[in-house]
């Protein structure tokens, strides 16, 4: 071991300390900077033609060029995503609670859920169009369905994972039926279903765009389809990045909500 030499703290050590202190946060950006730089370099040197990979500036210019239409595209998609996600998740939680709680209901409905679970929602798009038409409703139903599956499964499992200790404690303190539901069941499953809610939200963006590919007059998917049709790769990428940015935004909002509702959860590493 080399003895510590505190007598020789110079500028070098100060800079080194600063770098070590911030390197965690710097490293977070390193990967992104490399990818973005690579994209910038490949597209601007002309090594990859703009047809395959337009430059970042070109994508930005394209966004500005069509910026008047953007609020409409964003609103159309986000409406479907938010409404479909909210309805599907709420129904999933509401149905998962009794199925997870009651042995009889579990026996009856769990096989149904297990049968539906492996169905890829995207495979059902044609069927939904056949049943509900090409308009908004079939898209909403598709997104709701996808979110419902994720949350019904997640809720059933969360209810089953509740420590019976808490139910017994509540009962011995005089809590009955709905009181137990409200004061034990609901709070106890929140940490478990928060993960499911975020997965459902992220999946909603994908299901929405897939549904839009089947025909739409506006939305993220519309930009992508039109970009392909007119060989405007920059427009296509505008659609892709809008989805990415809004998905990150929604995830960030859900994370904030989550940390509020789960501030009581003991940390695992302690």
């Amino acid at each position: 071991m080399i003895p510590a030499r505190t007598d020789k703290i110079g500028w070098f050590h100060i800079v080194k300390g600063w770098i070590i202190e911030r390197s965690g946060r710097l490293l977070n950006f390193l990967g992104l900077v490399i990818i973005f730089g690579l994209w910038f370099w490949l597209s601007n040197t002309g090594w990859v033609p703009p047809l395959y990979l337009p430059s970042p500036q070109a994508v930005y210019r394209c966004f500005i060029q069509y910026s008047a239409d953007m609020p409409m595209h964003i609103a159309d998609s986000m409406y479907r995503i938010i409404v479909g996600f909210a309805i599907g998740s709420a129904l999933g939680i509401l149905m998962g609670l009794p199925i997870g709680w009651s042995k009889v209901l579990g026996r009856i409905f769990e096989p149904v859920v297990e049968f539906i679970r492996p169905m890829p929602p995207l495979a059902l798009i044609p069927l939904f169009i056949l049943w509900f038409g090409i308009g908004n409703s079939s898209k909403l139903i598709l997104i709701s369905f996808g979110c419902w599956v994720i949350l019904v499964v997640n809720t059933i499992e969360s209810v089953r994972n509740i420590d019976p200790l808490y139910i017994n404690a509540a009962r011995s303190l005089g809590a009955k039926g709905f009181q137990i539901f409200r004061t034990v069941l609901i709070p106890a499953i929140i940490p478990g279903i928060m993960g499911g809610i975020r997965v459902a939200a992220a999946t909603s963006f994908g299901m929405n765009v897939a549904a839009e590919f089947m025909g739409t007059r506006a939305g993220f998917g519309y930009l992508i389809i039109e970009g392909r049709r007119f060989v405007m790769t920059d427009l296509l990428l505008v659609g892709v990045f809008l989805i990415t940015i809004f998905s990150i935004l929604v995830n960030w909002l859900l994370k904030l909500t989550e940390s509020h509702f789960t501030r009581w959860v003991p940390r695992k590493d302690l």
């Binding site: 200790l165 808490y166 017994n168 404690a169 509540a170 009962r171 011995s172 303190l173 005089g174 809590a175 009955k176 009181q179 004061t183 034990v184 709070p187 106890a188 929140i190 501030r263 009581w264 959860v265 003991p266 940390r267 302690l270």
Partner: protein
């Protein structure tokens, strides 16, 4: 002090038997247990691990159903969980999603008491278990001893007729455990509430109890009922007195006759 006045029976257990059906056949968790708990007393049940202490406690608490026999509270048959029977579990059982204060006021809230009534009750019992100033913390922010205080305050705040405690201090370190025992005695003497206390710790039983009920294995049933004569209030000094040490030795001999293992 302590077990004052007449020997008025509060709780009666008659011919209680519990069998579990397992893949290896039927396990008799307890067999023909007969027991009386008197008003205001602090009765301890001791016995080696697996002799059926928790089984008895959870049936009195209404959490599990007896195979045969019955449990009467002041002559009335008990058939399920009841706010008349408070439980302090072996595990930490404070609701992790509620603050200390919300945990303590849980029973009164379920009974529909008003906010001001609840406030008064909570303040009293949070004070009684020395948790003043910690009302707004979540259980994850508390030490083991503090969590146990929450459990005790919550059970007391619901004002049950009897309190069941299943090795409540079993998970605590020795020093904390002894401190909690002394505090429990203080609370018990102030509140005058009947306590049915289960433990496998001889010293704990000898220090706390008016009466030690000793259980044995095979069959899992009560083998002896020993009164504890030490006066009250009991202080920490009692633990080192020769008569206390002798009593512990006596208990361990009674238990030792039945089984070698303990714990």
């Amino acid at each position: 002090m302590g077990n004052t006045g007449g020997q008025e029976v509060l709780l009666t257990v008659e011919n209680l038997t519990k069998e579990f059906l397992t893949t290896h056949g039927i396990i008799e968790a307890i067999k023909d247990v007969n027991l009386r708990i008197y008003k205001s007393e602090l009765a301890c049940v001791i016995g080696p691990s697996g002799c059926g202490k928790s089984t008895i406690l959870s049936m009195i608490g209404g959490i599990s159903k007896p195979t045969s026999g019955k449990i009467l509270l002041e002559g009335k048959r008990l058939t399920g969980p009841s706010p008349d029977i408070g439980i302090v579990f072996q595990k930490y059982a404070a609701f992790p999603w509620m603050t200390v204060e919300q945990n303590v006021e849980y029973g009164p809230r379920m009974r529909g008491l008003s906010k001001s009534e609840r406030r008064a009750i909570t303040e009293k019992y949070v004070g009684l278990v020395n948790l003043k100033g910690y009302e707004h913390l979540y259980p994850k922010e508390l030490s083991g001893g503090m969590s146990k205080r929450v459990d005790i305050a919550r059970a007391y705040a619901n004002n049950p007729r009897i309190l069941l405690m299943d090795e409540p201090f079993g998970a605590l370190d020795d020093l904390t455990k002894k401190k909690m025992q002394e505090e429990l005695l203080k609370i018990w003497s102030l509140e005058n509430k009947t306590i049915f206390f289960v433990t496998h710790d001889l010293e704990e039983a000898a220090f706390l109890a008016d009466r030690v009920i000793i259980m044995g294995r095979n069959p899992n049933t009560i083998i002896k009922d020993v009164p504890v004569e030490f006066g009250r209030p009991r202080q920490a000094e009692l633990r080192t007195k020769p008569e206390f040490v002798a009593f512990k030795k006596y208990l361990s001999e009674v238990m030792g006759n039945d089984t070698g293992e303990n714990g």
